[in-house]
């Protein structure tokens, strides 16, 4: 028997397409999106509110020292942080002592820091903040689609029955940033993504399921078909060698980054991948868990970045959290929900080894609501710059409705591969019906 899995898939899908009428927008395998010029974006979300003031710490700031008599990074002695060259003026900024891998990426010119950065909406609710950020609309947490979804849609990479995997959540469940995408898939591991239970009849079960789920057009049916397509896609290419993480790297982060590394090397048409890394909501006894979380993040990203060295010119990694934490430490050794955070941007085309943004200071009148680090850089501006310069998508108004020329003041933190593109602030585009998602 000589046939390729891919031929069969195309035949099968084409048959479904022919019967399905106008439902299928386009067949990605028939006219593949030209994705080879665009960077792959890896979007790492630190869920829980990462204490940006202890990750990239203004160690010499008097207000910082006063507000955190015990819980702070110091310039020397116990809990001394790693020096940061080319930092923002205003303080002696240092990495937390467990961020050695991030320091190395920064010192090697691959990592840029944007401080006092985040959501302009002042919510202190985790869930609301994540909703606003991931939907890309700081005034609405019920927008029916995520910013990544609108990015994919505006470059024609979302929708249709496709064996390409443009959008992958490597942590399993689909984040709000991919809400409304019919191409986004949750993949918890390349080799484990299969029907399990029977060697002999797994294929037959898949065939039966494909028939069941092609008999309707509800989101559940769509999900069933997408699942089967993903199984076929992931199992049609041999997996690449395993990436080895150092001991102590958290398992969930290892799994997610390993999956992404494999997908990148398998060349499955990946455009955006998301990773969730939680455990940052440190209200009590912050020091030890925070140190472990930073250590895990640092080791994982360092290892991952080095593993995919052959793709450095085509990859951008963004790390952010829903907000930072309160300047003043509480009396239980922790910090409460705050405001301004820090974003990290990593990649071969990043103007790294430099801190970006504008430091607002930590005196009472400089703080947001008198208590928290202010936001001087809208996180959307950082993402917008990456969108146009690295992902080749100028449709900033569609991805971030309401963005305009006055708001879009790029920091110039990445080199561009798309010199001819000009930002397009026109919004709109067809909005996909989706029920408002309750969290």
């Amino acid at each position: 028997v000589d046939f390729s899995r891919r031929d069969f898939l195309i035949g099968c899908s084409a048959a479904i397409a022919a019967m399905g009428g106008g439902r299928i927008g386009h067949l990605a395998f028939a006219s593949p999106t030209d994705s080879t010029e665009r960077d792959i974006l890896v979007f790492v979300f630190l869920r829980g509110g990462c204490d940006s003031l202890n990750l990239v710490a203004p160690t010499s700031d008097g207000d910082y020292i006063n507000a955190r008599p015990n819980l702070r990074v110091r310039p020397d002695g116990t809990n001394a942080g790693w020096a940061i060259g080319n930092a923002l003026p205003g303080a002696d900024f240092r990495w937390h002592r467990s961020a050695a891998g991030l320091r190395d990426l920064y010192d090697g010119g691959a990592l840029a820091i944007v401080h006092a950065c985040g959501l302009t909406n002042g919510t202190r609710s985790h869930f609301d903040a994540m909703d606003y950020i991931e939907r890309g609309t700081p005034t609405s947490k019920t927008t029916a689609s995520g910013w990544i979804t609108r990015h994919l849609r505006s470059i024609g990479a979302d929708g249709g029955i496709s064996t390409e995997l443009p959008a992958v959540s490597a942590s399993g469940s689909i984040p709000a940033s991919m809400l409304g995408s019919s191409s986004a898939v949750g993949v918890s591991g390349v080799t484990s993504f299969n029907i399990q239970g029977s060697y002999r009849y797994g294929e037959s079960q898949q065939a039966a399921l494909r028939r069941f789920y092609s008999l309707g057009d509800t989101p559940m049916h769509d999900s069933g078909i997408a699942t089967l397509d993903t199984i076929d896609r992931l199992n049609s290419t041999p997996p690449s060698p395993d990436i080895e993480f150092p001991a102590g790297t958290p398992g969930d982060l290892q799994n997610a980054l390993r999956t992404i590394a494999q997908l990148i090397r398998m060349d499955v048409g990946l455009q955006v991948a998301t990773v969730d890394y939680g455990g940052w909501d440190t209200h009590e006894q912050q020091e030890n868990p925070f140190t472990a979380r930073v250590d895990g993040l640092s080791r994982a990203l360092y290892t991952f970045y080095n593993y995919i060295y052959a793709y450095h010119s085509r990859i951008t990694i963004v790390v952010m959290s829903e907000f930072g934490r309160r300047l003043k430490a509480n009396n239980t050794g922790g910090t409460d929900h705050g405001h301004g955070g820090v974003m990290l941007v990593i990649g071969g085309q990043v103007r790294g080894g430099k801190m970006y943004g504008s430091w607002p200071g930590l005196a009472k009148e400089q703080l947001d609501n008198d208590v928290d680090l202010a936001v001087t850089t809208d996180y959307r501006v950082v993402l917008a710059e990456i969108l146009i310069n690295r992902l080749g998508n100028p449709a900033l108004g569609q991805v971030f409705p309401g963005m305009d020329a006055s708001l879009y003041q790029p920091l110039n933190l990445v080199f561009t591969s798309f010199t001819s593109l000009q930002p397009d602030f026109t919004g709109g585009g067809r909005s996909l019906y989706l029920p408002v998602i309750a969290r």
Binding site: A15, L179, I195, Q205, T227, H337
Partner: protein, 577 residues
């Protein structure tokens, strides 16, 4: 050995081709059926009979005989019955609870002790459970965790076997509404039966009573840090979620009015329609001094070590406060300030709206009709002080026209999917009456819903969209395959493996058509699309006709039968609720 994808494909196709009868045109004829593919049909699926809707929405789906029972009883009477559960009449469940065994393994690894013991902590009082959490008194971690493990196992048993399905559904609802991560600390884990009891006691009762019990519970006090919320070291975690998740909901959060509480509509009349951060801060001050007596230093004193709830006056912020535009005088007792906050939020119109929305979402549809929510709100508001407030609201929802409609807009979550599969098949669960840890939570965890194991305070999402990701969809399917595997049952029972599917197939069902029709009826209680039925028959028959007995050696036949039944569980029809 690793079989390559290509070889595996080739082998199975060759096998299919050699069978011939139905498969002539192409080696892939099995995968691409010779019949013309039906066009995909639009819109929601046809709703089943009201009794079937009721069994799926008011519980975890029918067990064999349930549909006939509800049909004989009538829908209205079934609602009536379910709203007033009587424990003594829960015969089947009571037998199961009494006879079930749950494995416990402890001791050093080189000489591990494994015992299969009955439940002993489900009704245990605080005085029994509290000392058990102390590692100096009970050094074995497995024994300290035993009370939680028993609740998990009992929750599965109750969902599968209880007559009072509506109660089990609502207990699950309240556990998710007042979500606590059961591994927050050892005290929470060990005293979990007490937290579970709060949901069971109040699931059809009065919301304010439920809220008060939750607020003072060991589980919530530790989970959201109110136990350490003192005037010297305030912690707003509980107060924030009290507003945002437990009562008014974030739809009533006016964060744009930060620092401007007077601008919230209604504030000038003392009736703000929503809350701002100031309310959270002031409420957390009002709740200072509420803690658990755990022997720690708290507000300048050393607490006794009893596990009881305590108003610790010295840790209370004694000054005046303003919550939801209501002034609290200074020097009120720790008890009074906090109680006042709970009363304010539990009686707030925003709470009525948010809770009724959530109940309708659980019982009817992801996006329930607004008219239904409004009627529920009216009942909620009129019965604020009624001891059966929740029952009245639930009854309103169940007896509504909307309850009968809106089919095909909500899917079962993984726990509901597996429980409904176990119920519908009539499989013995757990096999031989014995739970091991894998049975208690292993396979459900794989699909993303391990009981009492959800870390954020939101609880498991109730919106289907969350559960429709490809990763979760695949795991849902694989979990059903696992539930029918001989290996799974052997592993689980640790002895002679029962073969549930074959044993449950009546001996007069001989041909492929008879067997498939029997199992479709048993699992779905209604007809399926002709294509689905045909596909199931093709799967079981392989190369044979549908009106003769399927052939193969015993192991092969059993595997196909098991997988065919699992496939029915994977049909779109079986996912709706």
């Amino acid at each position: 050995m690793r079989v390559s994808r290509r070889r595996f494909l080739g082998a199975s196709s060759a096998a299919a081709a050699s069978g011939a009868a139905l498969l002539t045109s192409t080696p892939m004829a099995y995968a691409v059926p010779p019949a013309i593919l039906s066009p995909r049909q639009g819109g929601p699926p046809t709703p089943p009979a009201i009794e079937m809707i009721a069994l799926n929405r008011m519980g975890f789906g029918p067990r064999p005989g349930d549909l006939e029972r509800v049909q004989a009883l009538g829908f209205e009477n079934y609602v009536q019955e379910q709203l007033s559960p009587i424990d003594s009449q829960d015969t089947l469940l009571n037998q199961r609870l009494a006879s079930a065994k749950l494995r416990i393994e402890y001791g050093p690894w080189e000489s591990r002790i494994s015992e299969d013991l009955p439940f002993s902590y489900l009704d245990a009082p605080l005085e029994t459970l509290w000392p058990l959490a102390n590692y100096q008194i009970e050094p074995e971690g497995a024994k300290r965790n035993r009370p939680l493990d028993e609740v998990i196992a009992a929750t599965w048993l109750r969902a599968v076997y209880s007559t009072w399905q509506l109660r089990e559904l609502l207990v699950d609802f309240w556990h998710n509404h007042f979500n606590v991560y059961a591994y927050t600390n050892q005290a929470v884990t060990t005293t979990w039966p007490l937290y579970d009891k709060i949901m069971r006691r109040n699931c059809l009762g009065n919301f304010r009573d439920l809220l008060r019990e939750v607020a003072k519970s060991i589980a919530m006090q530790y989970y959201l840090n109110n136990a350490s919320n003192t005037s010297g070291a305030p912690n707003e975690n509980y107060a924030r979620e009290l507003f945002e998740l437990h009562t008014l909901g974030s739809l009533h959060y006016f964060n744009t009015l930060y620092g401007d509480w007077e601008k919230v509509p209604g504030a000038s009349e003392g009736k703000p329609i929503g809350y701002v951060d100031d309310d959270v801060y002031e409420a957390s001050r009002a709740l200072t001094g509420w803690t658990i007596e755990d022997g720690s230093r708290h507000g300048g004193i050393t607490l006794p070590n009893t596990g009881r709830f305590r108003f610790n006056e010295p840790a209370h912020d004694r000054f005046q406060k303003r919550v939801l535009a209501t002034n609290f005088d200074n020097d009120q007792k720790a008890e009074d300030d906090g109680e006042r906050v709970l009363k304010l939020v539990s009686e707030h119109p925003g709470t009525a709206k948010y809770l009724c929305l959530k109940l309708c979402r659980r019982l009817v549809a992801d996006n329930p009709p607004e008219a239904l929510v409004n009627r529920a709100v009216a009942v909620w508001t009129a019965s604020l002080n009624a001891p059966d407030q929740i029952k009245q609201v639930v009854e309103t929802i169940l007896r509504s026209d909307e309850f009968r409609a809106n089919w095909g807009q909500k899917i079962k979550r993984p726990f509901e999917l597996y429980v409904s599969f176990l119920r519908a098949t009539g499989m013995e669960f757990p096999p031989n009456g014995l739970f091991n840890t894998d049975l208690a939570y292993g396979f459900s965890e794989a699909a993303g819903q391990r009981l009492f194991y959800w870390r954020p305070p939101t609880g498991h999402p109730d919106h289907s969209t969350y559960w429709l990701s490809t990763a979760i969809t695949l795991r849902r399917w694989n979990g059903l395959n696992r539930l029918t595997q001989r290996d799974f049952w052997r592993l689980a029972s640790g002895s002679q493996a029962p073969i549930p599917v074959r044993a449950l197939t009546p001996s007069d069902k001989v041909t492929t058509r008879q067997i498939v029709d029997f199992w479709i009826t048993r699992l779905l209680g209604r007809e399926v699309a002709a294509e689905v039925r045909e596909e199931l028959m093709r799967f079981l028959a392989r190369n044979r006709g549908f009106d003769v007995a399927p052939t193969g050696d015993a192991a092969d036949l059993e595997e196909r039968l098991n997988l065919m039944v699992a496939l029915i569980g994977m049909t779109p029809d079986f996912q709706w609720r």
